[in-house]
Symmetry: C2
Subunit: 339 residues, 2 copies
Amino acid sequence: MNSSPELTEPEAASLPTIVDIRRAAERLRGEAVRTPLLEAPLLNERVGGRILLKAECLQRTGSFKFRGAYNRIAQIPEDDRKNGVVGYSSGNHAQGVACAAQMLGIPATIVMPSDAPRMKIENTRTYGADVVLYERFSEDRDAISKRIAAEKGATIIRPFDDPGIISGQGTIGLELAEQLAEAGAAPDAVTVCCGGGGLISGTALALEDTLPGVPVYAVEPSDFDDTVRSLEAGQRLGNPPEARSICDALLSPMPGALTFAINRRLLAGGVGVTDDEALEAMAIAFRYLKIVLEPGGAVSLAAVLTGKVPVSGRTVAVVASGGNCDPDMFASALERFPD
Amino acid sequence: MNSSPELTEPEAASLPTIVDIRRAAERLRGEAVRTPLLEAPLLNERVGGRILLKAECLQRTGSFKFRGAYNRIAQIPEDDRKNGVVGYSSGNHAQGVACAAQMLGIPATIVMPSDAPRMKIENTRTYGADVVLYERFSEDRDAISKRIAAEKGATIIRPFDDPGIISGQGTIGLELAEQLAEAGAAPDAVTVCCGGGGLISGTALALEDTLPGVPVYAVEPSDFDDTVRSLEAGQRLGNPPEARSICDALLSPMPGALTFAINRRLLAGGVGVTDDEALEAMAIAFRYLKIVLEPGGAVSLAAVLTGKVPVSGRTVAVVASGGNCDPDMFASALERFPD
């Protein structure tokens, strides 16, 4: 029985398993940060429930993306390494690829949208990568990346639809299950930020093994709710080209083939949150948890704070994916939501 | 030989030791957060050295103060507990005492300056404490606290000059030494925020045992550099009454008797930083480490960023003490120091 009829046979055979995630955890040991699971009594009191937040903003490069990038790049055959890697990304995958490549001694070229946060572009360059800018809404980043890769013989490191990437992100699920047990917490639900679906598909795969039966929800920007709609439709649907959001980390055009095959099997559902709800969640994380989240990294918390994933009288684990936020955006979140 | 001639004999006999700190660590196990030791490659590149930051802003109540308060309150004899505790504090100790008392089922009254950050006052109330406000620069908080304690038969929980408090804060030093070893880092120096000296005296005591010979530096606001001047003079000196700083957590009038007896024996020295240098350190911690520091919690990082404690070509461990910052203060730090 092929449980993923929408995939080609080679694609279906490549889908990662819990074994791949455990191997990724071995590769990442001592390289990635075991990010803390944070909890604030005053926040719990505010929501009338228990929130435990996996703070991937404290990951190397400021987002979870380092995990998948390192796991994928570390598996490039020796002979291909000298030709380098090419990544395309709004910024967090860019930094993850650049940093992982630098640590592994491999040259990196990163194709980034010209409207990505300035900090993400600067940081990517500081990790030693060549940055090639393109226009997000008029140029085709896939085509640009393929051309560069062909010229150099380089390996393309896709941002989410790759078994090595998914397995790397899945290590978050392994740690989350361990840390929830350490905290004596049995979650009623898990919320995860969702762009192309790499983070949540890997996390859900790990939780299927470590916390079976706990529902996992994808959280997206309301106007980029392709995974929510795709889950409901039972097939991959894209976002309208005119959609815009401040959640720059989550603006993928549609779910990945591999990630969606996993997500349709494992996710309990998904919800969308507005840009303002993401900004307010950033201000709440500032106030109660003392961490910096970027808009796209805060949507999973926003889903809980808004009650879209209920927390009252319950325990919800939240995977917050990144903190690479420009200072002016963060200041405006604090000014607009001081309480 | 009495190595602390300025203390009375009972005071000298009460000075905590590494044994007391290890006992405190046992009491705090599962109650306090083992805060992470954070490091950012891009920050290291910026300073040309290695910074490892102990993020006590991620501690329960948003600052290290919970450790000492819990350790001290947990040692109150059973018969005295019903009469409650009284604490006086600019805010972080207040929250620490209120939270620890609540966890231990003991009533708490907190005497706080009326100009303390609104958030700290609100949070203290939310932990179930009675808050009594006073005027920082005209009223005597000690006298107010003693009167309340006498009326209730309550135990006064001093903010720093108490063996149980010092031992609790010292657990940071134990964790720091463990985490530095885990990170493969041998520090050339340690910087610690310093108000009354409870945090640094406890930390220095722990490091004397776990990292002997590593110099520990007190960092204070320039205009509240009582410990720096006292160390130089060899005796306790106070701050001028007209001194002001935005580092509300560090505005103690002079070093404690116990804390100074420890600090004069163990510290390598101290430095002062300006309010602007503290604000810039907050912006740097935002950008590179994705954490929220309050001004007083950032001075230890500011000392390194300014080169007052040199980091170029070296490894420095920084104890950042808290993150209870009003949003407008944080936003202004980001706006003034965007890079």
